[in-house]
Structure formats: C-alpha cells, structure tokens
C-alpha cells in the first residue's frame, strides 16, 4: 500500500460520495429520465454491410396510429461538408452526420437509416417494420488488409489518402498514412546480432459497458434544446449535437445522467441528435434507448488490426532497432486511433533507431472509437511477443531484457517525444520484487507464467470547478466531469487536502453544460489529473478569499494571516475553516472559489505490467487464468481503492481481449454475436481476484503528483497471457482472441511440425 507522504486525505479510502445512491438504486441514469408527454424513439438500421440507399418510404409508418414523427438522414440539416472543431479534436461534418443517420450509403450492418417517435416503444417498433427502404447491395470489405488492396470495394467514392498534410489524390479505403523515423533503422538492423520479425492480428472488440446508450431530448417552442444522456462528456456531446443539427451551442443544454460505463465508447453521439429532431418534429420530449444488439452493431468498438513488428538486438541484449507496420480498421469512417498506437508501440523501451509506419483504413464495420488506451493493447500484444523472442534467442529471461532496455527519464521515443520523469523501470522492478513473481510458476505440464508491460500517455485538456463555502464549514463542489470511476471523490479529496478538510466535508456534484465552465471528456485518464487540478486551484481561491475575511475579522492586513492544516491564524487569533465559514455573513457574504485548467504540459504517462499464471487444457484449448497481478504507476494514488479498481477493471477487459472477445461477422458482413450471450466478456466466475501493486513515481507536472490510471492497465494482459500460454504448452498464438479453437489448431500444427522434424 502506498505511503501517505504526509497527506491527511490523499492516500486514504473514504466512502464514495455517490456510493449510497448507487447501491440503493436511487442514482438517476439516462433510462430513468421521465418527462410529461414523453414519446419513445426507435431507429431502423441497415441489414446490409454495404449498400446504396436508393429510396426510403416512410408514409406507412407515419400513418400508424400513435406515431408522432418519422425521420431519415435527409431531415438532418445540411450544413455542407466541412471540418468542425468539437473542442477536443476536429471531425468531418459529413461523416459525423452520416453516422447518426445515413443518407446516400449504408456502410455497416446496423447503420441507422431512419427513426420513429411514438407513444409507446411497441408502436415505434411496429412502425419501423412499415418503413420501406430500397437498397442496392454492394460488396462489403471487412478486413483491413483486404480493404487496402487495389480493386477492393471502395466505401467512400471521394476518399483519397492523406499523408501528413498532403492529399495524395489516390482514391482508396486508406484514409491516412503517416510514419515516424528516428535515426537509421536499416543500418542498426544490419549491425544487430539478432533480428526477429512477426505478424499479428487483433479482433474488433467492444467496450462492453453494461448500460446501453440512451438519450432524452426536449425541443422547446422557443428553440431551446435540452438533452439528458449517458455521456463521457456533456460539453463534447453539446458540440457534436450542435454540429450535426447546425445550431449554436448556446441553444443546447446537455444534462449528463449517471453513466453505467463508457471506456471511450460514450464520447461520440448517436441517439442525441435523432431524439432532438424527433422532439422538434413531434413537439413532445422523446426518449431513446439502444437495444444491446444495436450497441454492438452501431456504436464504436476498438479497431481490428494487422501489425508487423521487427526488432533487433546486440549480443548483450540491448535492443538496437525496431520497425513497426500498423494498419487499423477505422470502421466506416476514418478514425484517429492508429496515431495513438504509434505513440505506444515501442513506448516501454529505449531504442535508438527505428521507424513506425501507420495506416488508417475504412472497412464495412461500425466507425471505431476510443476504447481504454486506444491502440495500445493491439501493439503491446505484438511488441511484447517479439521482445520475448529476442530474449529467447539471446538466452535472457523476459524480465531481464525488459529491465535492460526499459524506457526511462530522457528516453526519446521513435516518434520523437522525450520522456520526462516516468515509472517504467519502477514498474518492472515491482514485478521482480513481487511475491507473485518470486513464487513458483504453476505446477504441472500445462501450467505457465508470462509477463508483459504496456503504456498509455494520458491527456490533460480543459476542466472547471466551482466551490461554494457553506456556513456549516462544508463545501459544495461543482464539476463538469461525468463520474465513471469514482472521480467525484478523487477530485473532492484533492480539494479537501488543500484546505485541510475531511473528504466528507466536500459535497461534489456533476453539473450540466449551463451550470459549470467548459470541461472536456472523462477520458484519457484525465479527470483525477486535470479536474483534480482545477479543484486544487479552486481550493486555493477559497483559501485566499477566506484569508481576506479573517483579516477583516481580526482587523489586520491579509498578509498577516496564515493558513495551515485547516486553521487560519494571525498572532493570537485562530479560526478553523469551519469557524470562519460560520462568520462569512459578517464579512461580506458568500465565498465562491473557482478555477479552470488547460494543462499544456505536465501530463504524466503511466506504465502498467502483468504477471499471469495460466493453465491450458490441450484437449479443448481452454485457458484458465489461475493468478493475475497488475502493477501500475499511479504517480500518487489519491484514493487507492479506486486506483486498484481501475487496474482490476482494465485487466479484466484485457483478459477478455486475450481469450474471448471478438466481433464475429458472417461472410456478408452481418454481426453474428451481438449479445452478451454470444459476445463473451469475462465474469467473476471466470477469473481469480486480480491482485494489484500500486507503484508511485510522482508526476512532477501535477500539484499532487497524479498520473491518470484509467487506461494503461488494459495494454499488457493479452501479451502476458500469450506468454503464459507459450510457457504452458509451447505455442503462442499471434492472433486475438486466443480462443480454444485457435489454441487447439496451434497445438496440432506444433505436433505436426515436431513429428516431421523427427521423421514421424
């Protein structure tokens, strides 16, 4: 357990402020939204993976009693095709709009093509059956390498490949190509003593949040729109709704409801603009909730990938060169995740020469989106395998080669970035020093152990907080970050620490877009870091104002007032925070602290590592995880239980990537496993308790040393489990998921090779 380092609140484990509401069912989620006159919306989705929409006839649906409004893509305002700034990155408006409701083409099975609002869900569903859509079916392409081939079915007639600010003019599904180069990789490979190259594939995987997407919209007669939704960012939701509906953000209020998981998938809007237009058309509020199949078929999973890694080392085990080819399926529209993969692919190692070649490719799948350290898990699976092969060639232990080549302060990544103070080495040393690593590996012929390490760079972005001092000495803290992982409390704790209060004395709440300053998404592991920083600054603002009030009371200069550990002092005068809060009426009235942050620098990245013990059944190919440890650098763990929760959650999701999870498409591009029955995520019955080791290498760029911990933990599990499988049975699949039939096939191929080698 981390030491408290002199802090009184930071590093403790208070009960979360929203805990009682959550466990008693009183917390209000999107589906709980109720308004007078509420209608229910449903979406008609394309059954085809690739088709031209020739016509849509909604007349029969509109005539059904109880139906109040029907929409198609042509009802969305046409604001032209332009890049729109959503505050956290640009988006091409046509793509944003067409993903909400298709106009000319359906680009994936499940692509929305029409929507209905009716007085009941059942009438709305019945109305969908009455909408007649004439499609011209087109050949679909679902695999990244096939989509890159000359002559592959082209998703977008006007798409040409962009190469770092230059339009190549080449029509293709290849939306973007870029590369990074450091030093002279060819020369370094030529001089290396050992060179290993392998190819890898990873499946399309969904975030698997329990709460489906939902939105309720009320379009007032005065043109004001209110949207209640489950979102990772109320302000980015507002920006996207404004862009799609071509309306100013001042006319839109987004009220974030409690959120039942997001992991990156609840940053884009899907239902919100549709519910808004249905409300406008019907004159009544409209609620929409996705079905589980719709969530799988139509929202943004992580990209499937093809990755080729080549690495070279000298005889001492020093990695001297690295080369990555990374091609990501962005889904129906171009994405930006392969850029993140490039930042992570060799991020754990100090490598002097290398290159990274990246391709963002559209395929007939839903538009991929962020999923917890987006892009990092795909490339960690590949790189960690090759590092293990180098170690084997050189007769080194896997941990030994990692420690010898660990990235550290001053390491220049191949994309050029130089690391500030970072904790990769400390995380690897924590593997070495752990009881798990030092204990015997699983006994028996089919047991094995593997290790791996991964990285996520984290982001800063904008956050706002306001703090109202109450007369009883408590503080109402308002923030704009939707709370997914206990961040109300981790933010409130930083506020409390700064003012010498108890965490319980701070009452945090998440506000709507009209009630707090701009705050970017809950994503990028940024909330405890950036919103926590805003809370720290708001606390300093409160402190300074209260020093002025104390000076008034004691009739001294403000410079004569000191504040320490929750107590204001000047000479013999002394007042606690609570005591002074009770005397605001006589010194000028209420005190409100406020702060915004937009940190350009100081965002500390985080490394995570795993030790995985597995047992493989060679008959069935089933892999059982016997023991699993996650180690992660938290910088400073504000609330260790929530840090551990993030580490455990990311690990479980990573194990899902490793062993079970994939989008399984039929040949014609229809998703065949769009339910949790068939899309198998790990449950508590599948896994042991995930053990956690928090490493603290404080981030010098944050007042309390925070590094975001929400994401890096999903990167290493597939590689660690792959290594453990190899240790157990001698085969190591290079395609995710490592499901039973792949294990059995690999074992059979292994046996056949062995038999041929012995002439059997």
């Amino acid at each position: 357990m981390p030491a408290n380092n002199g802090y009184k609140v930071i590093g403790t484990r208070p009960i979360r402020h929203d805990g009682v509401d959550k466990v008693t069912g009183r917390a209000i989620y999107g589906a709980d939204t109720q308004l007078a006159g509420l209608l229910y919306g449903q979406v008609l989705r394309s059954p085809h993976a690739h088709a031209r929409i020739k016509s849509i006839d909604t007349s029969k649906a509109a005539a059904l009693p109880g139906v109040k409004a029907v929409l198609t893509g042509t009802d969305l305002p046409d604001a032209g095709d332009q890049m729109v700034d959503l505050g956290e990155g640009p988006a091409r408006l046509k793509y944003l709009r067409d993903n909400v409701l298709a106009t000319d083409k359906a680009l994936y099975s499940g692509h929305p093509v029409a929507a209905v609002a009716a007085t009941s869900v059942h009438i709305a569903e019945e109305a969908l059956d009455l909408i007649e859509v004439e499609y011209e079916e087109l050949e679909a392409v679902l695999d990244v390498r096939e989509a890159m081939q000359e002559g592959a079915p082209q998703l977008h007639d006007d798409m040409t490949t962009q190469e770092f600010g230059e339009d190549t003019g080449r029509k293709s599904n290849l939306a973007t190509h870029f590369e990074h180069r450091l030093g002279d990789a060819d020369k370094a490979f030529a001089e290396a003593d050992v060179v290993v190259e392998r190819e890898f594939q990873t499946a399309t995987v969904h975030q698997g949040y329990i709460e489906p997407h939902n939105a309720t919209a009320s379009w007032n007669a005065d043109g004001q729109l209110t949207v209640w939704t489950s979102t990772q960012g109320s302000f980015t939701a507002r920006a996207q709704v404004g862009a799609v509906l071509d309306m100013p953000i001042s006319r839109i209020k987004v009220v974030p409801q409690e959120i039942g998981g997001g992991f990156g998938g609840k940053i884009p809007v899907y239902l919100e603009p549709v519910a808004a237009l249905l409300s406008k058309a019907s004159g009544q509020p409209v609620k929409m909730i996705m079905t589980r199949p719709a969530v799988f078929e139509s929202t943004g999973p992580t990209p499937g990938s093809y990755v080729k890694i080549k690495m070279g080392a000298d005889k001492s085990g020093k990695i001297v060169a690295a080369d990555a080819y990374i091609a990501f399926e962005s889904g129906a529209y171009p994405g930006g995740l392969v850029g993140a993969a490039a930042m992570c692919v060799f991020s754990c190692y100090d490598i002097p020469d290398g290159r990274i070649d990246c391709y963002d490719v559209v395929v007939n799948k839903p538009r991929s989106f962020a999923y917890r350290a987006p892009g990092s898990t795909q490339v960690a699976f590949a790189t960690e395998h090759v590092v293990d092969l180098l170690a084997a060639e050189l007769g080194m232990e896997p941990l030994e080669i990692r420690l010898k080549n660990t990235a550290t302060t001053g390491t220049r990544r191949i994309d050029g970035v130089v690391y500030p103070k970072m904790g990769c080495k400390e995380v690897l040393e924590a593997i070495r020093d752990s009881e798990h690593y030092q204990s015997p590996a699983p006994a028996g012929p089919n047991g094995g152990r593997g290790i791996s390490v991964g990285y996520w760079f984290n982001v800063g972005l904008k956050s706002s907080c306001t703090a109202s001092v109450n007369a009883d000495g408590t503080v109402s803290l308002v923030e704009g970050s939707t709370d997914i992982g206990g961040t109300r409390t981790s933010v409130a704790m930083q506020f409390a620490e700064t003012l010498g209060l108890r965490a319980e004395d701070v009452k945090p709440q998440v506000a709507d877009t009209d009630s707090i300053g701009h705050t970017d998404v809950t994503g990028g592991s940024r909330v405890t870091y950036a919103t926590g920083w805003a809370a720290y600054k708001a606390a300093l603002d409160v402190r300074d104002q209260l020093c002025e009030r104390a000076a008034q009371l004691w009739e001294v200069e403000v410079s004569q007032v000191e504040f320490d550990d929750g107590v204001f002092r000047s000479g013999d005068n002394e007042l606690t925070f609570k005591g002074l809060a009770g005397r605001l009426e006589e010194t000028g009235g209420p005190v409100i602290g406020r702060a915004t942050v937009d940190p350009d620098s100081g965002v500390g990245g985080s490394f995570a590592a795993n030790i995985a013990d597995v047992e493989v059944d060679p008959e069935t190919g089933k892999v059982d995880v016997l023991r699993f440890t996650v180690i992660q650098d938290a910088g400073r763990a504000i609330h260790p239980a929530y840090v551990e929760g993030q580490m455990q959650g990311g690990s479980v999701q990573g194990i899902g990537w490793a062993l079970n999870e994939e989008y399984f498409y039929s040949g014609d591009g229809h998703l065949d496993n769009s339910s949790f029955l068939d899309y198998r995520i790990p449950t508590s019955l599948d896994l042991p308790m995930i053990e956690t080791i928090i490493v603290e290498v404080p981030n010098p760029g944050h007042p309390y040393g925070v590094r975001g911990v929400g994401e890096a933990n999903i990167a290493p599990p597939p590689a660690a489990i792959a290594a453990a499988i190899e240790d157990a049975v001698g085969v190591r699949p290079r395609e995710l998921p490592m499901k039973p039939d792949r294990i059995v096939a690999a074992l059979q191929a292994h046996e056949e090779r062995a038999a041929q080698a012995t002439g059997g």
């Binding site: 890049m83 700034d85 959503l86 956290e88 990155g89 640009p90 988006a91 962009q162 190469e163 770092f164 600010g165 230059e166 973007t176 190509h177 870029f178 590369e179 990074h180 180069r181 960012g233 980015t236 990156g264 940053i267 884009p268 994405g335 930006g336 995740l337 850029g339 993140a340 490039a342 930042m343 290159r355 990246c358 989106f369 962020a370 987006p374 892009g375 994309d415 050029g416 970035v417 130089v418 690391y419 500030p420 760079f457 984290n458 982001v459 998404v521 994503g523 990028g524 592991s525 940024r526 937009d598 350009d600 620098s601 100081g602 965002v603 994401e711």
Partner: protein, 89 residues
C-alpha cells in the same frame, strides 16, 4: 536555437534533414523560418492561419493547445505529429 523535427513524410522538402535548427520564439515564427528555408513547408502544415486539423504540434514533448501562438524556448524541440482525433483518448 530551437530544433524542429521534420516528419519523415515531409523530409523531401528538407532534402532529407530530420532535425533543423531554426530561429523562433513561437511556433508561428518557427514555421515561418522553416518556410523561408524550405518553401512549401507552411502550406503543408497550415490551413490559413491555423495548424491543419490533422496535424498536432508538440513543444518539448507536449502537444500545445495554443497552436501557432505557443512559446518556443531557445533550447526547445518542436515536433509536428499526426493529430489524435475523435476524442481518442
């Protein structure tokens, strides 16, 4: 003097130079200096008076929100990187 790192896909503009020392106290001045030495550089990275949406600029390892106005120190490194878009993080 600040050092600008030229992306490999733009190095045909710089005759293969990966790192270039340039005068400049802001990203705007660095881009102007690069364009003066390597004509076409500005057109490649700017859209009007803004950095192209698909490109991010990092000063000393941190992507800068201030864009062209971002300060550049005498020992700074300036990198031109692909933007991570779509709320990727």
């Amino acid at each position: 003097m600040p050092v600008a790192w030229i992306p490999s896909l733009m190095q045909k503009l710089t005759a293969g130079q990966q790192q270039v020392e340039v005068e400049g106290a802001t990203v705007r001045e660095v881009v102007a200096a690069l364009d003066a030495r390597y004509p076409g550089f500005k057109e490649r990275v700017l859209d009007g008076d803004r950095i192209k949406t698909e490109i991010a600029v990092a000063v000393d390892g941190e992507v800068v929100a201030a864009g062209l106005r971002a300060k550049v120190g005498p020992e700074s490194e300036v990198h031109f990187l692909p933007a991570i878009s779509g709320g990727a993080s």
